[in-house]
């Protein structure tokens, strides 16, 4: 790995012995201690650390829940209630895990929109960004699988609706469906499979997160100006500067998280999921968790099942093409007066889609969903390429340092990097 900042120097004999065989400590040191971080990052850049914390929370609480959970159709519902009632602090574990999934998505959505606003997906960070889209896809799969586990009415009918959707995929659809079902409909074998996969996917997420951080290590972080690091004065060392900021932001996020756990633990869920799964009774409205609602609206915007499926998956996959669809030379929307307005319009359209996803698919709601779906895709296919070509960006600051201190001014203290460090920060792009 390239040597950013002050390299790690093993001191004890044992440390030297180990480092010359596996430079693990050096790798961690260069990624999280001496790694040069743009000094102008705002709090939107703390959500990466918050996401890692939430992944940890989900895995820790999930493993604990799995010790008491019984993945069979007859016992699943009651085993979750057993956790809630009889396991010491089981209610806390379960409410942390259920609300943790929601908080994970709150954080990931802020993280994604941060990247879209500041052009973090543009060269040289395409691979870093696409790995992020893969993590997002895996998160969606994990959360969907997890939501079936308590085996309430929404679990059962949500699983039924989604597996039926997958059957619409040409050629392989039916095979996928019967593989997931393990029978002729959603039932106990399905629940067993879903539990197994729900346990597996988070660890795959961990793997992709490692790649994501590795790619970040190579390209360095983007920053609110979107201009590359030019000298050691543009950066500070990851530790202590970014570390303390991330820890502070994570603590504030924990307050937000704790509020849901302790005071509104069921607000983000559905009352129907406290009714045990019943194949004979279809709930009046089958609605997914809030974080899927925009995609659910897109799915139902077209009357054709296959068309809906294509659009829904397309809506996620199109994110991966943003690096090539955006033609602007300038990364950050701070300097893109026209694109900036389209960006906020896009955010509003996504929120409206979320609202529409919760409405029954009838009348005006369908028409509104169609308009918003069209705009969603137009943002990527028209706005991104065209605005980039025609817009005149504002003048960029000469350097990150200048954006912080104002032009021409010098800071006496200089860089937050240790002396002699960060001589060659990454400056690709």
């Amino acid at each position: 790995m390239s040597a950013h900042g002050t390299a790690y120097v093993p001191k004890s004999g044992l440390a030297k012995w180990f480092e010359s065989r596996l430079p693990l400590v050096g790798l961690v040191h260069s990624s999280f201690v001496s790694f040069p971080v743009p000094r102008n990052l705002n709090y939107f850049w703390t959500f990466g650390a918050i996401l890692i914390m939430m992944l940890g929370v989900q895995i820790a609480t999930g493993i604990w829940l799995a010790m008491h959970y019984d993945p069979s159709a007859n016992a699943a519902f009651n085993s979750v209630e057993h956790i809630m009632r009889d396991v010491n602090y089981g209610w806390l574990l379960r409410y942390m895990h259920a609300n943790g999934a929601s908080m994970f998505f709150v954080a990931v959505y802020i993280h994604i929109f941060r990247g879209l606003y500041y052009g973090s997906y543009k060269a040289p960070r395409e691979v870093l960004y696409i790995l992020g889209v893969i993590i997002y896809l895996l998160m969606m799969a994990t959360a969907f699988l997890g939501y079936t586990l308590p085996w309430g009415q929404m679990s059962y009918w949500g699983a039924t609706v989604i597996t039926n959707i997958l059957a619409a995929i040409p050629i392989v659809g039916d095979t996928i469906q019967s593989l997931l079902w393990g029978g002729y409909s959603v039932g106990s074998p399905t629940l067993n499979r879903f539990f197994s996969l729900h346990y597996l996917l988070p660890f795959m997420i961990v793997g992709v997160v490692v790649l994501h951080v590795w790619a970040l290590h190579v390209t360095g972080q983007n920053n609110p100006t979107g201009i590359p690091i030019k000298s050691g004065k543009d950066v500070v060392a990851f530790t202590p500067y970014a570390t303390i900021k991330d820890v502070f932001a994570a603590a504030v996020f924990m307050i937000f998280f704790a509020y849901w756990i302790f005071y509104q633990p069921n607000y983000l869920g559905h009352a129907d999921n406290y009714v045990p799964a019943n194949p004979g009774v279809t709930p009046k409205h089958i609605v997914p968790e809030w974080y899927f609602l925009p995609f659910y609206a897109i799915l139902r915007a077209v009357p054709d099942k296959l068309g809906g499926v294509i659009l829904m998956f397309g809506a996620v996959l199109i994110l991966a093409f943003a690096p090539w669809l955006d033609t602007s030379r300038v990364r950050s929307s701070n300097y893109r007066p026209i694109y900036r307005q389209f960006f906020w319009l896009f955010v509003i359209v996504c929120i409206i889609l979320g609202w529409l996803g919760a409405k029954p698919p009838e009348g005006g709601y369908v028409i509104a969903s169609q308009i918003c779906t069209a705009y969603y895709f137009a943002h990527f296919l028209l706005v991104m390429p065209l605005v980039g070509l025609f817009e005149t960006p504002n003048r960029l600051p000469g350097s990150i340092l200048e954006s912080v201190t104002g032009p021409g001014k010098q800071v006496d203290s200089g860089s937050g990097m240790p002396v002699g460090a960060a001589a060659a920060p990454p400056s690709k792009g």
Partner: protein
């Protein structure tokens, strides 16, 4: 800190979209919102009310509704109706449960505190058969399994601290028990069905279960009733009891939450000052989302 404000605003916006999940339509009127002792940040159950509610359940509802996830011992646990261990033991002994003996024969024995509340019917089919084809739902989590939609913008307010609202299910049950009335002219009520203002679709298989004076509450020290023996009071008490049955650790949850959040606020405050101190030697305020500032440069 402008960034913080932008952050707060985006969290709010997200909150807006995430609660949209609640939207749905319904023809029944919204249940009136009642005052519950266990609502809010400092909410606690009223033990006397839970005891009365338990009495209503036991004497009336338990003839039809099971409550399989509640055990006798739960009635003596902290945060509940506050019966003593001896009271619960005596209560359990009044009920019979069946078990296999060493010879493999099904025998009856008096219930113990560790036993689950005995169900009135052997299985769901029997329960439905005895009730005109509709099985009375189990009470264990029923108060969490019912809700009603408040629509925009109230659902946003409902999520917020201090003005929040999470007792929709309890209010619905209270309203349902008071919602029996004569059907409007022209509404046909088939045999076995009953008209209820708050039930979805109005035709419910459960006949009006409560009437004034039906349950005799223990008298106060002066020999006077402590609370009125009316349908409204019974339904309040039994709804509160059902809220406890559905969420037996509610008090512990809210009390722990207060301490956790207080701790996190203090921790965040300290971390903020550490952060400020660490960054002080770097100089320069950190800005985000402030194009004007950069344009001026």
């Amino acid at each position: 800190m402008k960034t913080t404000r932008v952050l707060a605003a985006s969290l709010m916006a997200l909150g807006l979209s995430l609660t949209a999940a609640k939207a749905a339509d319904g023809h029944s009127p919204n249940p009136p919102r009642e005052n519950w002792s266990f609502a809010g940040v400092f909410g606690k159950f009223d033990k006397a009310q839970l005891q009365r509610g338990f009495q209503v359940y036991r004497e009336v509802c338990a003839n039809c509704h099971s409550m399989t996830l509640v055990r006798f011992r739960n009635l003596a646990e902290p945060g509940g109706p506050g019966f003593t261990a001896a009271q619960v033991k005596a209560l359990a002994a009044e009920y019979k449960v069946s078990e296999l003996n060493d010879n493999g024969e099904q025998v009856e024995r008096p219930a113990r505190p560790a036993d689950a509340w005995p169900s009135p019917f052997p299985n769901e089919k029997a329960a439905a058969a005895a009730n005109g084809g509709k099985a009375p739902p189990d009470f264990s989590v029923l108060a969490k399994a019912r809700t009603y939609e408040r629509g925009f913008p109230l659902f946003v307010v409902d999520a917020m601290p201090f003005v929040g609202y999470s007792e929709q299910g309890v209010d619905y049950i209270h309203a349902l028990l008071n919602g029996y009335e004569d059907p409007p002219a022209g509404t046909e009520v088939p045999a076995g069905a009953n008209y209820n203002k708050y039930y979805d679709g109005h035709l419910i298989a459960m006949a009006k279960p409560l009437s004034d004076g039906q349950v005799t509450y223990a008298k106060g020290e002066n020999g006077e009733p402590v609370v009125p023996e009316t349908v409204d009071q019974y339904s309040r008490d039994v709804s509160a009891f059902m809220a406890w049955a559905a969420e037996p650790h509610l008090e512990a949850r809210k009390a722990l939450g207060f301490r956790v959040i207080l701790f996190l606020i203090v921790l965040s405050g300290l971390l903020y000052y550490v952060k400020k101190k660490v960054w002080a030697d770097v100089g320069g305020e950190v800005h985000g989302l402030q194009p004007e500032l950069h344009k001026a440069g």
